[in-house]
Amino acid sequence: MKSKIVGLLIVLSALLLQLGCTEPFEIESQGYESILVVESTITNEMKRQIVKLSRTSPLESNSILFEDNADVNVVTNNGGFFHFSQDFETGLYISDRPFRAQPNVLYRLEISTNDGSLYRSSNVEMLPVVPIGELFADRVIENSENKDGVEVLVNTEDPLGNAKYFRYEFEETYKVVVPHPSPYSVEITDYVPFPESYTVVLTPRTPEEVCYTTEYSTGIIQTSTTTLNQNKVFRYPIKYISKKDPKFRERYSILVRQYVQSVEAFTFNKILKDLGDSESLLSQGQPGYPVGNITSNLNADEKVIGFFEVSSVSSRRIFFNYEDFGFTKPPYFQECEVYTLDYRKNNDPNEREVLRTSILYYGYQVISGSSNGIYKIVEPECSVCTYFSSNVKPDFWED
């Protein structure tokens, strides 16, 4: 009897501990709302400016729904008028002619959608230009977060104290040098399936050995100056690169663009960012609808997500590589195993068949071949950089 009671106690206590039991579940769409999403930052760069229009999609769907056939214009308080036309390839709306944002001018975005709804942003003024300060990379080690590598940091200062909110975007460009360049293009001819036989034709070519990959930042990276007396962004981390990151293997460059934001834009972005970050087990933060600066002309209560920003932008680029920090050379993007296959072996193992399928179906590249039928092959990513990158050397590139 006594042991039974103890057993009961244990069961009950186990239950107690599972009180705060949290389990994932499938979200059921409670009522999908199709809402216009507007994303646009007009800058002080002379270029064809961009407005992105899309719609919210149901929770179950993963596709991006572009808002097509809208009439998009930016008007200014001094009579300026810029029409945007949709580029059907990207879905973006691009200004018909290049223009740049001017100081002391109010800009307004006006959208007329295909279904007849009218939207407009509030009048937005460009904030003063604050050139991006120092951009530099620093060694960082943080065991608790498993960080060991390099952090790209920014310092910026507005001596006038007008600009307090900064948003950053970056483009990272890195050089790729393949470990096993292939001097041949390969072709298989005279194929007879049974018994299997074919000819491997190797044509010499200039190997695609060096490429440059450019990647764009995603997500919201922003900060504000922190103290009252100093309008300074100090050592704000833009990007962390692990010392084992293959991007780092040859030469790495990062361009950081600094947008001076209004407090409204900053707050809007902050809310968006926080909404995706809420993580808690027993309690829950308060989610909600992020209020932007775009409203419907017809129905003031219609939700529109988005922010029309006019921002001064400045940018800076730096280059570095692993040696600058005394790291050992990072590994390549993937394991590159070179297989040596003998055409003559057509039975147990049937290397002849493996050779053919590897080249034909998996795109393996031949590094070397010989008349006696022995070939060295490797995966294309290890041999031809254009397979995943571009062999066009960017104009800005400094070796």
């Binding site: 206590s13 389990e23 994303e39 407090v263």
Partner: protein
């Protein structure tokens, strides 16, 4: 020698035989817990008398008394004291009668109307120990009492009957006892000294008393003049088996107070338990108008108010966190608790500082007569309470201690994950009471509670409450009384994070409150009763400090400056009985708050969202310098109008101001929340409430009915910006929003207090809304319109029922249905800044599924053998019999660009519990 003699009795009465009492015979006899019948038979043996009686009358009574050389009448008076037995001595016969008083001669004024009546003072001492769990007839009829002398030409039509009621077993005065004429046209309630006074018409009056947990008596009184009566009441132990969550009977109809819920600890005994814990505060949430956000959340939402708007008082000291283990258990020991009053609308003028309610929890006074104890053993906790007299009839102490043994259980588990977990709590309370003399009393309570648990393996979380209160009561005279109160409360919590890495830290938060209060009562006249006083509270809050643990920790030491505030109030209220039907309670409280230095405060620019960047000035204040003062009058007005004997209408208007706010990023209350004082940037919250109620009693069926409605407006209630960081934030005000609230509702309550089948049924329809509007779009929520508050649950239906099968077995059930609380739900996805984002609905636009739960329990009393060491009962309960998976919260996380939904539910399976309770 039994029933047949009843006839004889009648004949005797009719023929008015003259009695010659046989006083010459002296008797020596001794009884030690002897059944009364046995005692009578022994007495018969020891004397020359023969007794005539019905033995049914004597059942259930015991005598412990010794008589030495006493006359028969002294002996008889002695053994029949505290019973309903009257006797008549006639020659060698003694005739016993139940309830009736036998007139041996006609009243002296029967023929000439001129004779004097002696003043009769009934003074019962209680030598008879009645068996605790015997069923008594609910209403005890007492002997007729005549008051005053009859004067031949009395001009007065009415006389004042005054007197005191005391508990027959402890000798303590009985407060809040109602005494009324049977037709309820005249009515009085005893004060804290058990004292009452009642104006009655000349001649025969039939009175009855009512106090929860005590026997009811019917007392016939003939009023010939002003006089005094002293009565002792036995505890009505039968109520142990009943659910008697009730306002004191009639008080609900008669009081001027509207919106009050009174919960007696006895009532909680048979309600099905969760994990073996009897929980007064949980029971409170089954009453209309009091809600929680969900199981396992520690706050209460009273009539649409936020969780921080309740003043929870334990023996007059504020209890900041009334729960254990994140709200699964209440921190108040059920065995030491006497009663709890919840004021939802008419908050007495003496209380203030919170907008929505006052939970006034009072600890029992220890028995002044004998050593007693009560205990329970449940699956999670063990609880023991003892009462002991220190100075007999003068001073006593009650102490309760409760602790978990879950840690021991956890360690003995095989499950690796649970083995390293920790979850424990304990609490202890000691109350001392000293009746120095008739005019001076002293009470003091010390309370401590502590919780300690780990949610993750590397962090330990603990919090504790500490209360001390000291109360001295003095009666200057019949009309004037004073109370001096000193109380201090402390609430603190800490988080200890040790992952053996460079982020190890120790975090602490501490709040201290010191209060002094002087309260006076003055019975100015029959019509006017004044209560007035002043109180002052000093707050000192250390909102957080963090320090590194170990040499490797990179955490920098940081501490947020102490906040100080002084909250004072003067108050005055008049209970004005305009006439028999109309009673008005007019209260006015003027509260004044000063935020005190030393501190630095930020001044923010107008027209832009408050942020670190909109600070335009930093002000420094010296120690105790006034930073900012707030204050204002608070009106506490309520009135009752009788529409009939058992029917009344009541209305009230109440305003309240709150200077201390609870900040929480969570939708529910949690122990890491921060209490923050009003300061330069945080306005006090203000509320006003209108309420109206109809109260009807059906005494024949012991049924009480009430319908109450209210409308409440709130100003400057706190809310937060999305993603607010509250802990260790030096510019906390930048995360806060202050908005309006409104709440309204109708509450129905039907209670059946007595009988085999009893219980109550409550339903409320109530709404609560918040409006956060601003010129700044970013500080606006839901377009600046009113939206449902997090705890807005329109429909709330509860039934608590008990059925007593036999004396030993009773069954109880509890069913609750509530509308699911509002949440903000994802309604779509979109891409922004190159990432997938979630689109949420308007705030609180959707609701989690409705909540319902059925609990069942059975109570088994131990056997009723007399000479047992302890009385015991076993409670077996099943919580959530239907196994309903009631989600408590739902939340969404952006995991690597994908939205994942999580839900937390508590007790999604039936939870059986067995608890053993004993009493000695």
């Amino acid at each position: 020698m039994k029933k047949e003699h009843l006839l004889l009795l009648l004949i005797m009465l009719i023929s008015l035989w003259k009695v010659r009492a046989q006083n010459n015979q002296n008797i020596n006899i001794q009884f030690e817990n002897t059944p009364l019948k046995e005692a009578v038979l022994q007495l018969e043996e020891a004397s020359s008398f023969s007794f005539y009686f019905d033995e049914d009358w004597l059942k259930g009574y015991f005598v412990s008394k010794a008589f030495e050389n006493e006359s028969i009448t002294v002996v008889l008076d002695g053994i029949f004291e505290n019973t309903n037995i009257n006797y008549l001595v006639r020659d060698e016969k003694i005739i016993l009668v139940n309830n009736s008083y036998i007139y041996t001669n006609l009243p002296e004024n029967f023929f000439n109307g001129a004779a004097e009546k002696k003043t009769y003072k009934q003074e019962n001492i209680a030598p008879i120990f009645q068996e605790e769990y015997t069923s008594q007839t609910t209403i005890q009829h007492r002997k007729l009492v005549t008051i005053g002398k009859q004067l031949p030409n009395s001009a007065n039509r009415t006389y004042v009957l005054s007197g005191t009621f005391t508990n027959s077993s402890t000798g303590e005065p009985l407060q809040n006892l109602s005494i009324s004429t049977v037709d309820r046209s005249k009515y009085a309630v005893t004060d804290s000294n058990g004292y009452f006074s009642l104006r009655l018409p000349y001649g025969l009056n039939k009175l009855e008393t009512n106090l929860l947990g005590f026997e009811k008596i019917r007392q016939d009184v003939i009023m010939y003049g002003d006089g005094e009566i002293k009565l002792r009441l036995r505890e009505n132990t039968e109520s142990l088996e009943e659910v008697v969550v009730k306002s004191k009977k009639d008080v609900n109809v008669r009081d001027a107070v509207v919106g009050v819920t009174s919960i007696n600890i006895e009532s909680v005994k048979t309600i099905p338990l969760v994990l073996g814990e009897r929980d007064l505060l949980k029971v409170a949430t089954t009453m209309p108008g009091i809600k929680t956000a969900g199981e396992g959340s520690s706050g209460f939402n009273v009539r649409g108010g936020r969780a921080d708007q309740n003043l929870i008082l334990l023996d007059d000291a504020v209890l900041y966190n009334p729960s254990h283990f994140l709200g699964f258990f209440s921190a108040v020991n059920p065995f030491t608790t006497g009663s709890m009053q919840v004021y939802k609308a008419s908050i007495p003028a003496e209380y203030g500082g919170r907008l929505s309610s006052v939970f006034d929890i009072e600890t029992k006074s220890g028995s002044m007569e004998k050593f007693k104890g009560e205990g329970s053993v449940g699956p999670i906790t063990a609880n023991l309470a003892i009462e002991a007299p220190i100075v007999k009839e003068k001073a006593s102490v009650i102490a309760g201690f409760r602790a978990t043994y879950s840690d021991w259980i956890l360690r003995s588990l095989d499950e690796e994950q649970l083995k390293n977990s920790e979850a424990s709590f304990y609490d202890g309370i000691v109350k001392y009471k000293h009746n120095i003399d008739n005019n001076n009393t002293l009470e003091s309570t010390v309370y401590f509670s502590k919780d300690r648990f780990s949610i993750t393996s590397d962090s330990i979380f603990d919090y504790q409450n500490r209360l001390i209160s000291f109360k001295y009561g003095h009666a200057f005279n019949e009309k004037n009384r004073a109370e001096v109160l000193f109380a201090s409360s402390q609430y603190k919590y800490g988080i200890n994070y040790e992952a053996r890495a460079n982020k190890d830290f120790d975090f602490g938060y501490e709040l201290n409150e010191y209060q002094a209060k002087f309260n006076f009562n003055y019975k100015f006249s029959k019509q006017h009763k004044f209560t007035y006083g002043l109180s002052s509270k000093l707050y000192a809050i250390d909102p957080g400090n963090i320090s590194p643990i170990g040499a490797n920790s990179d955490v920098t030491e940081k501490s947020i400056n102490r906040e100080k505030g002084l909250e004072s109030a003067v108050y005055f209220s008049d209970m004005f009985e305009v006439n028999d039907k109309l009673l008005i309670d007019i209260g006015l409280r003027y509260s004044f708050y000063a935020s005190l230095g030393a501190a630095t405060q930020n001044v923010y620019a107008e027209g832009v969202p408050k942020s670190e960047n909109s600070i335009i000035e930093v002000k420094n204040y010296d120690n105790n310098e006034f930073i900012k003062t707030y204050g204002g009058p608070e009106y506490r007005i309520s009135a009752r109008y009788l529409l009939g004997n058992n029917f009344s209408v009541k209305g009230g208007f109440n305003t309240t101001i709150q200077y201390l706010h609870l900040l929480s990023t969570n939708t529910t209350m949690s122990p890491t929340d921060i209490w923050k004082l009003s300061d330069l940037n945080v306005e006090p919250q203000r509320a006003s409430q209108y309420s109206l109620g109809f109260f009807k009693n059906l005494p024949d069926q012991s049924i009480e009915l009430s319908v109450e409605g209210y409308y409440k407006k709130m100003k400057d209630i706190l809310d937060y910006k999305v993603g607010a960081q509250l802990i260790l934030n030096e510019t906390l005000e930048t995360e806060l929003l202050q908005g309006q609230g409104k709440a309204y509702g109708v509450e129905f309550l039907l209670k059946k207090n007595e009988g085999r089948f009893n219980g109550y049924l409550g339903y409320s329809y109530s709404r609560s809304f918040v409006k956060l509007d601003s010129q700044l779009l970013q500080e606006r929520v839901n377009y600046g319109n009113f939206f449902p508050a997090n705890y807005d649950k329109p429909h709330d239906f509860t039934v608590v029922a008990n059925y007593k099968l036999t004396k030993r077995f009773s069954f109880s059930g509890n069913f609750t249905y509530q509308t699911g609380r509002p949440i903000t739900y994802p309604v779509g996805r979109f891409y922004f800044a190159g990432e997938e984002q979630v689109l949420y609905s308007d705030r609180n636009q959707y609701r989690i599924p409705d909540y319902f739960r059925l609990d069942l329990g059975v109570n088994i009393e131990g056997n009723h053998k007399r000479n047992k060491l302890a009385h015991s009962f076993i409670n077996i309960s099943v919580y959530n019999v239907l196994g309903r998976n009631n989600p408590y919260s739902v939340f969404f996380v952006n995991e690597a660009g994908q939205i994942q939904a999580y839900k937390t539910s508590i007790f999604s399976v039936p939870v059986p519990t067995i608890t053993y309770n004993f009493k000695f």
